[in-house]
Amino acid sequence: MWAFPTILTLHTIGLAVLIGASWMLDLRLLGIGRRVPLSAYRWVFPTVAVGLVINLLTGVLLFIKNASTWGVAFPFFVKMALVVASVATVLPMRSIVLRGGDLQGDVGGNARLLAVVSILAWSAAVTAGRLLAYTVV
């Protein structure tokens, strides 16, 4: 009786940690707080990893509950694709931050583009996830 609400709540908390932290890095890449050296943002990656692990575990459990309907539902695959795409943006950002070291000021255009893609992909993933509750029962 308590399991489902708890898992769902953990999924939401994981979402806030995961997306919140990765958005903070996106904002830096877009020039918000450009004085801050990139190395100061290393905390983002372990934080994202924690959020991601929480949400993969709770996500699998949530999927099991509805496997027979979600497993064949198009909106669910859209969400999964968006999550994979969003996570995929974090990996090149990690190498940018690690390579950047104490770089202050603007990052290159590619990194900024990556940040925009990341923000949009996460937004789309969250929206798709929320709409799952309405489109697939």
Binding site: I13, A16, G20, V36, W43, L131
Partner: protein
């Protein structure tokens, strides 16, 4: 004690509190004293935060009064509608006050015109809230009820703003889901910013000046604003889902704590003072505050997400 009691206790905050904040601002202008203005703005922000429990406890009080026949339902609905406008003005004034405080902390002064704008918005809120308070008094105090007020009751229920919002919430196929999606994005943004700022206080990324994480606070405010608007849409659209739900009041309580904390992080002077501008190290008190902030936000998330399970919403 029920929530009607709470409403009766707290309902003086938006009017009396605004009058005090306004007095401080006016006194600040009269004496050319920036410190008084600063305190006035801080008080204005606190009142804007406290107006949330005042409003939601008022809607709960409406439920309690439904059973009592001699109370005119229309009188309550008129009061509630004006209070909703008062709430909106109050939040707007509080937001401008916050922007002024944020700039003040960074540059030693708010942008020109910002404090006067906050003052004018506060006067408007005080006027609308004063009207709401008067209408609220008329619900139960025949001694102040104007002769024409009684005649104004019992009309078309469709004329209320609350009714229109309820219709959209119930009959629009996409508004509720869309607002929920925005609500989740807003919570990620707010939580991300507060995570960064509080982690800095707790000792992560010690090498960067506090001013640089303080720079992120307006983005937290953006997420919070989006969630206040979408959250009020849910609440006003379907109040029945929330007013009889305990986790909802827990959530409001955590929001008030989080709001107070947000103000603290905004005006927090220590990191700017003296030579430790670049290498600010937090003491135990600062760290306790940072932990309280993160706990309050986790509480908001937990109580909010548990609403359908511990309460009655879906």
């Amino acid at each position: 004690m029920n929530l009607a009691h709470l409403h009766l206790i707290m309902n003086h905050v938006p009017t009396v509190g605004s009058a005090v904040a306004l007095s401080l601002l006016i006194l600040g202008y009269a004496r050319r004293n920036d410190h008084l203005k600063h305190v006035g703005l801080e008080l204005l922000f606190v009142i804007a935060v406290l107006t949330l429990p005042v409003y939601v406890s008022g809607v709960a009080a409406h439920r309690e009064l439904r059973e009592i026949k001699e109370v005119a339902d229309d009188a309550i609905r008129i009061h509630q509608d004006v209070a909703l406008f008062g709430f909106a003005w109050m939040e707007f004034a509080g937001f401008i006050a916050w922007v002024a405080l944020w700039q003040w902390r960074r540059r030693g002064a708010a942008a020109r015109g910002l404090v006067p704008v906050a003052t004018v918005l506060l006067i408007v809120s005080l006027a609308v809230m004063g009207r709401a308070a008067n209408l609220g008094g008329e619900i139960r105090h025949p001694e102040i009820r104007a002769a024409d007020a009684a005649a104004a009751t019992a009309g078309d229920p469709k004329r209320f703003v609350q009714y229109s919002i309820n219709q959209v919430a119930v009959y629009s196929r996409w508004m509720w889901p869309a607002a929920e999606a925005v609500h989740f994005l807003g919570l990620s943004l707010s939580f991300g910013v507060l995570l960064a700022v509080n982690l800095r206080i707790l000792g992560v990324m010690k090498q960067i000046p506090f001013a640089d994480v303080h720079r992120l606070l307006p983005w937290g405010m953006l997420g919070f604003g989006a969630n206040l608007i979408t959250g009020m849409f849910f609440f006003v659209g379907q109040p029945g889902q929330y007013v009889e739900s305990n986790p909802f009041y827990w959530k409001v309580m955590f929001l008030v704590i989080a709001g107070a904390n947000f103000l603290y992080l905004t005006v927090f002077g220590k990191a700017w003072r003296d030579g430790d501008k670049d290498r600010f190290t937090a003491n135990v008190g600062d760290k306790a505050m940072a932990l309280l902030s993160l706990t309050a936000w986790l509480g908001v998330l937990y109580a909010g997400r548990m609403l359908p399970f511990l309460g009655r919403s879906f």
